[in-house]
Symmetry: D2
Subunit: 344 residues, 4 copies
């Protein structure tokens, strides 16, 4: 009930604080007999790694995943896959001054309101570092999905006011630019914007879009566990996510039925996949930690000035791309397995 588990038949239970000994998780429900390419799992993790893009934080974590169980001679056993990622570059001391101060836009105070105490070092468990466990689980799911012909591809579609042109998308180019945008033209402008806000000691938000090819028709449970509902929950579970839309999304709300019925529904109708490409978008707020001095409150309620040091991303969306993909893989794999019991 503490919400550290996602999925029903394919499920990740995650653990770990940013500056504890390790983060990790347990993937339960991976069917037996899957040939698991561990290097491919590591490559996914490398794509999310701090330092993976010049636009990100300078925190340097090797982020080597260690599998502890569930795989024997390269084949999944059907047993839980326990794994961990050591926290190698944990500079807890950097955060001492934050012990009694609540950073604006962060979960410092809410965490204390909830639990009565918190691990203040690097955000503790509220740190985006915990998403590395999601990436590992997603990488395992992706190998299962690939065998089923399903391919999940995310990309940055907006940074601040700079948007990718839907007519110019080329998914093959996403990893050629540091901003992970599928529109090479927009990528340059996005990169320039991120560099600009970084120079200003500021940050900026953005949007990650995701396209899923090859999904068979029939996935998704039609009432509460609609495919888009489970995707929405997974995406809003990512740090800094503030919105989700499928198909035409908020734009659909402005359309007439006669128009909208002719458009793509985003690959899902009535909560169930149609067999067409699935498309959704996730909005991210600007990184809350900025280098500019900000007023905030401390534990006594007094107003204090926060001059953040730390090592932070000026824009989270480039590094959010593999996380969005991983979450999508987890949800799809779960529903692929759930569908196995839909008929006699």
């Amino acid at each position: 009930m503490r919400g550290n588990t996602i999925g029903q038949l394919f499920r990740l239970t995650s653990f770990g604080e940013s500056h504890g000994p390790a983060i990790g998780g347990v993937v339960d429900g991976c069917p037996a007999g899957l040939e698991l390419d561990l290097e491919a799992v590591q490559r996914e993790l490398d794509r999310r790694r701090p330092g993976s893009t010049p636009l990100g934080t300078t925190r340097n974590e090797a982020d080597r995943v260690e599998l502890l169980s569930g795989v024997h001679e390269g084949i999944t056993l059907g047993t839980p896959i326990g794994f961990l990622i050591p926290n190698a570059d944990a500079k807890g001391g950097d955060y001492d001054k934050l012990k009694d101060m609540y950073r604006p836009g962060h979960a410092d105070k809410t965490w204390e309101d909830k639990f009565g105490l918190r691990d203040h070092r690097g955000g503790g468990r509220s740190s985006a570092r915990t998403t590395a466990s999601v990436v590992v689980a997603g990488a395992i799911a992706r190998q299962f999905l690939s065998a089923a012909g399903i391919e999940v591809s995310a990309y940055v579609s907006a940074v601040g006011a700079v948007k990718a042109d839907p007519a110019k998308l080329d998914l093959a180019t996403v990893w050629d630019n540091p901003v992970r945008c599928a529109d090479p033209g927009a990528a340059a402008a996005m990169t320039a914007l991120i560099e600009e806000v970084r120079a200003q000691g500021d940050s900026v938000g953005g949007v990650v879009s995701c396209s899923i090819q090859g999904t068979p028709a029939g996935l998704g449970e039609p009432v509460f566990d609609k495919l888009e509902a489970d995707l929405a929950k997974a995406m809003l579970g990512i740090n800094a996510a503030k919105g989700f839309q499928v198909g035409s999304g908020f734009e659909a709300s402005a359309l007439r039925g006669s128009e909208h019925n002719k458009r793509s529904q985003g690959g899902i109708l009535g909560g169930i996949s149609t067999g067409e490409a699935i498309h959704f978008d996730v909005a991210f707020k600007p990184t809350a930690t900025i280098a500019q001095a900000q007023e905030t409150t401390d534990r006594t309620g007094a107003t204090v000035t926060l001059q953040a040091k730390g090592r932070h991303d000026p824009c989270v969306v480039p590094r959010a791309v593999p996380i969005v993909e991983a979450m999508a893989c987890i949800v799809l794999m779960d529903h692929l397995l759930r569908q196995r019991s839909a008929r006699t």
Copy 2:
């Protein structure tokens, strides 16, 4: 795993097809000792009822809820509250011609792709009629929340391109106009727009916004079951919903951190309520069934012309208002109970 249950500690298990004998559900986890006002539950249901607004369908269902268990002498027992709502005005025969035809924008074909068969009468279980069970569960939760000082209020904030003015909202006026808009000026324009699309045999989408007052700080589970993640899932579980955003949402993705940190975060930070008002929006697509003739396919794959009769809402958002409120009540009550085990 078939996804007909929502909630962890406070949970609704729903059942029922649009044209079967009854719809209903089981509310489990309502604490013992709550004085339950059954008439207030019925009033909530009346607000969603077909026929509750002149802008909606002419299908006329009395929608009387019958409680079968869980309440004794007006007090909840702590046992499951079973309830049903008979399907009184079920004209299954109206739908005979749809048996072998797939309506555009509907779940007819996906449902068959999933289960191999479907109850074609009125959409079967994919009908929005099933949301009446959500309203009953939400009405029970609302009484518990009210006792805790939490008030949930939704309203229509956009119909097509007509938007409510955030500066002119008056929540007390929502039920004074047929469109359930909190901005009386916009309400008139929205009403005119809905009448216009109805006259054209068309439909239009819209946005429902929701404001929650009085939530204590500390609700929400910080990783996968963030408060906004559970809200997103609940809202995307409503028929025709295509998007969800909390706080500044998609707009936040265009902002700088220095700006956004000064704005409302929508009452949730890091997945946990801050104690401030919670605000979110839900986008709805235009009703898929329209009176205009449309091309579609039948079971053989042939293209056929659909001239819908039936009785349909030209815009779903007025009747979605009580459903959004009910879903929000269910999620909040669940998290209120979950919070009871957060500390020693």
Copy 3:
């Protein structure tokens, strides 16, 4: 979390008090496409019905199950099967004097300790009447299992000190005698014993055994959800059950490994079915309500004399037979569906 749901993929959510308007439940997860014989479901219910055996209570309930959803033209839709059984012969008034008194061996006081209040009429939700919902769900599962070649047969193997002879069992005779014993010779002695204790205003305990033929090898999840663990939980969930054993059970604890390895393991090894017949036993205590005067306490803590009237079974095991079978069917069907996601 209030524990009114059993099963993972095939699950029953139950509701209802003994003397409320109705009891019932929701069966979720029954695959689509099962041809459902409703009369066979009713026949199962008739086997459990008060009045089904001359050895039981004289309470007379028609116990007609009404299906509200999930089945269309005799075929399951894959949607939840809502059902109810009206409480026709509810004589709540009989129980008025029990309002402030705690019956010995009953859950009256514990229920109040838990919830702070109780529905005292006929035991409320602690009544064995709630097992009728289990029988309905089990009867649905049984039809699915039969199609898979699995047959579940329970029988009374002991009443008080009278035991069936394992060498003389004939499962075909179980329903030929009022005590539901598979050993016709022992059945007569058991019947005589029950009549004797009834005449004495007393009651007696017994054992129900269950034999399952045709289970494929491979069912059961090897750590916490072992097949025997889920069976044990289901059986201890039946009113008045006090013990469970599989294979040689408690007798095995007295054996040497060299002997026991040569015996039947009860059809389950390491939590997983072997493909051989599954065998387990369930111990039931004597009915707590007896006609003899008993000392007990009332709400004030004072000692009072209880002279029970009501209508009670002198021995629960004959009527427990269909309940044990139903629970076994629910567990097996759940694991049969779970097994579908064990391999790639």
Copy 4:
């Protein structure tokens, strides 16, 4: 759904094979603010450790638990407690000859029937070694229970035909003898019996009993999640367990109601704790692996002779005592937290 998780509000997700890199788990739902004595956790683990009793296996595992998260400065954070126990003394090679052979009384063949393959080294995940993760979770729960005044004490009550005398139990003596029996007189006879069967290359079964003091009235959910039902499931989830009974158990089935109503009900009535001491028994079969030569089958179906080497316990019950306690602690803590939402 692969059944590696136990508990609802307080839950353990377990992972690990006997001869993989490590076993471990994630404890989720431990409330924040618990001062955790890590040495006490290690002491519990030491009590289960191979080599902890001269009557057990000679496999020598240091079994040092490493906490990876969830605890900061000695206090639980409310976040998941990830932990691992390295497999130090894993002699996988010892098991090479078992790769194609199915040991009698073991899960070798059922495991392959289920998953299509298995990790044959030391039983893989079917090894009793996985119960070490249960002991860690139980040790955490025990500290929470102790603070609430609840004490859980298990002991061996039978080895083969040698039984403890209920009139001579002294729980303070359990750890004074190698067999973990609470009746010092019987302990000597049990020890002699175990030495005897070991000398014969044989094994013997036994019974572990458990007594719980200080449970408040009101724990347990009255229908499917009765307190005894959850205890039964937990206990049958322990390797080699074949039976469970609460209170008078199977003996109760032979009693009259007039007698049984006057006896202890085992501390639970109608699924809910009464506030009195809880008492239950768990039957264990004799260790399946014995040193005597046994006939068995190999992968081709041929009959072969197995002459086991390995290192095995001649009787599992002494080392099962801490596991029974740990399981009981997990179940009780879960229900203690669940009870927090029983009333308004």
